[in-house]
């Protein structure tokens, strides 16, 4: 199956449709995106150039089946198409996070969350707590050296 994202004038993904592979293969057996786009324009009343092929197996610019990643991420509803970088971006999680065109993901300004302290790990294993680092954008806006906050979901 081939997958195509329908985008609007803001390049926001409105929906993703599947097409039989035969609809996008030319007489020589070569896949042509334009064939799928034209088919979708005809059947779904939406301009061909606003249907963008997307790879079901690509996430974070990695192909799940060890193939070649295609356009950063499988397009989801509400994602944004970036034609310059050829990437479908998920919605920005927080205003301070920035695009990473290599991983096709949003980078936290302070990097990955720190490892949980041993005490919290033990409490999680015992099931008495559910500790996790969560991003606090308000905290970060007040002091840009802070942001990750240890949170107990059972509290």
């Amino acid at each position: 199956m081939a997958h195509f994202a329908k985008i609007d004038d803001n390049n926001v993904v409105l929906t993703v449709l599947t097409l039989d592979n035969k609809e996008i293969v030319d007489a020589e057996g070569v896949e042509q995106e334009t064939l799928g786009q034209n088919h979708l324009q005809h059947h779904h009343n939406w301009p061909a150039e606003k249907w963008i092929k997307t790879s079901y197996n690509t996430i974070g610019n990695t192909h799940k089946l060890d193939g070649t990643p295609f356009r950063g991420n499988y397009a989801g509803i509400g994602f944004t198409w970036d034609a310059d970088n050829q990437i479908f971006w998920p919605p920005q999680p927080y205003p301070s996070w920035t695009k990473n065109t290599t991983t096709a993901m949003w980078d936290c300004p302070l990097g990955a969350p720190p490892s949980l302290p041993d005490e919290q790990v033990s409490q999680n294993i015992a099931g008495t707590h559910d500790w996790e680092y969560r991003w606090n954008e308000t905290l970060h806006q007040g002091d840009n050296t802070k942001g990750w906050e240890l949170t107990d979901h059972l509290a």
Partner: protein, 160 residues
């Protein structure tokens, strides 16, 4: 899309912006609405009503993370200086009104705050939709001076 929050009850309203060359044909919808008044039958599916329905559902999902399933299509024809009866759609979650052919039309949506009855008035225009909770009663006033009709497409939705 614009959003008005009425005490946790949200009203969405937006002009339908279709790509050039793919615009909605209001005459197609208007003729289907007139047909319902002549035959007494339900509004028949047509390409233009499907485009409106798809546009509303897709935009709500993409921009508001609200996922809708369409339920019933119907049409309204309103005369000049007419005030419609109060409507409420108890069997659906959302009611959508789309301006098919509008001269001067106001949608009055009623809601409550601590027992106090309040109302929000929003003008309906051509090619604009208003979507709100079906639990909120509404009525329509039509103030146009001329004898033109206001035609409105109504679609009800359930929340998926």
């Amino acid at each position: 899309m614009q959003k008005k929050v009425l005490l946790e009850k949200i009203i969405y309203h937006k002009n339908v912006s279709m790509p050039e060359g793919f615009e909605i044909n209001p005459i197609e919808i208007a003729s289907k609405i007139i047909e319902t008044y002549i035959t007494g039958q339900k509004l028949n599916f047509c390409k233009a009503t499907d485009i409106v329905d798809t546009y509303v559902r897709e935009n709500l999902a993409a921009y508001e993370d609200v996922h809708l399933e369409s339920q019933n299509y119907s049409g309204r024809i309103c005369y000049s200086n007419q005030v419609t009866e109060l409507e409420i759609d108890k069997n659906s979650d959302f009611t959508m009104l789309y301006g098919v052919h509008i001269n001067d039309c106001i949608i009055h949506i009623m809601y409550e705050n601590d027992g106090e009855k309040l109302m929000w008035d929003i003008p309906l225009k051509n090619n604009k939709f208003i979507l709100f909770s079906s639990k909120m009663p509404f009525y329509i006033t039509n103030k146009q001076e001329n004898h033109h009709l206001n035609m409105i497409l109504k679609i009800t939705y359930t929340d998926k």
